[in-house]
Symmetry: C2
Subunit: 171 residues, 2 copies
Amino acid sequence: MSHISAGVEYALHCLLYIADPQGKVTEASVRDLSELQGVPFDYVAKLFTKLHKARLIIATEGAKGGIRLAKPPHEITVLDVVDAVDGRKKLFDCKEIRNRCAVFEDTPPSWASAGLCAIHSLMIEADNSMRAVLAAQTLAGLAGQFGRKAPPEFGQQVSRWLGDRGSRRIP
Amino acid sequence: MSHISAGVEYALHCLLYIADPQGKVTEASVRDLSELQGVPFDYVAKLFTKLHKARLIIATEGAKGGIRLAKPPHEITVLDVVDAVDGRKKLFDCKEIRNRCAVFEDTPPSWASAGLCAIHSLMIEADNSMRAVLAAQTLAGLAGQFGRKAPPEFGQQVSRWLGDRGSRRIP
DNA sequence: GCGATGTTACTCGGATACTAACTGTCCGAGTAAGCCAGG
DNA sequence: CCTGGCTTACTCGGACAGTTAGTATCCGAGTAACATCGC
């Protein structure tokens, strides 16, 4: 298990499919997005309710419902998605060992617990450094990288795949 | 559970007690170090065998045996300890979702899996950024921060505490 | 025609297994220092 | 004196239970679009 979960990966890949770099608003259902990528639907559905609570997406309920980005893709950072899905979990959980020292005998002096533990503060610095990298990249940036690799006809193929499913939806 | 485990915290706190900023070689037993800090002995013992395999410490076996740093404390980085204890685990585990796309139909084209996934490469960048912070701090640096906070008599108190135990060891 | 009804697909949210990793504990093996009795 | 055995404390390493978080699945509730039926 890694610190940044598979849920984040699922969410990012799904979001990239509805993140048009030109800013065109694209809507799709969670089922389409999950099956398009071979990823468990029920699980992804839960992820999207988290993204919804974080106000990163807008959902329309009912038949023909779906989701779309709540903001243009260049305003949604990867860090936003990570925090929405994984819930701002800490890189390191300081147990304040410094004032458990046996020579204190149950009454640690004030200097021991003053300020932040040196180890803890270093870990916070490391955490912030990591988060800064994630905050510097947006969905638009990622989609742009992907778009430069994919051939131009790929976008049409995806649209057709989604369209075929859509036309089949309500017989 | 956090990405950087409690084991790392235990190990760092223990190592700091035998990391003399002046470079004086200090030796102590794992039992002393663990009980000095109110931390489970058996668990810490396992951590120290990991540190031993990573060649960060030197252990002398038998009665009156113990542990000392294998290198001067300014040559042991926090990252060394993290990797030794947690085993270089990845921040993010890419599942290569990009070539599961349904429009590929079981035969993803070469461009899809070419190079590194954009999400994956961003996560690697974030990981490296975090590791760089940990690699920039050494045991000597941490010990120095701690030493500036602790009053001068604290070192003597710890020595006395360890000495009292030592004199009691073999009756 | 046109409105009421039913069906379908969708998002939401709770409940629940299953799995992997971390934490903590127990125990035996091998090693070396000090003690002590017998020569 | 001194040599061999004994006790003790130490590091090493395997085995294992308890806990927690992540992953995945199932199911019901509420909502909205479309089709159908009755008038």
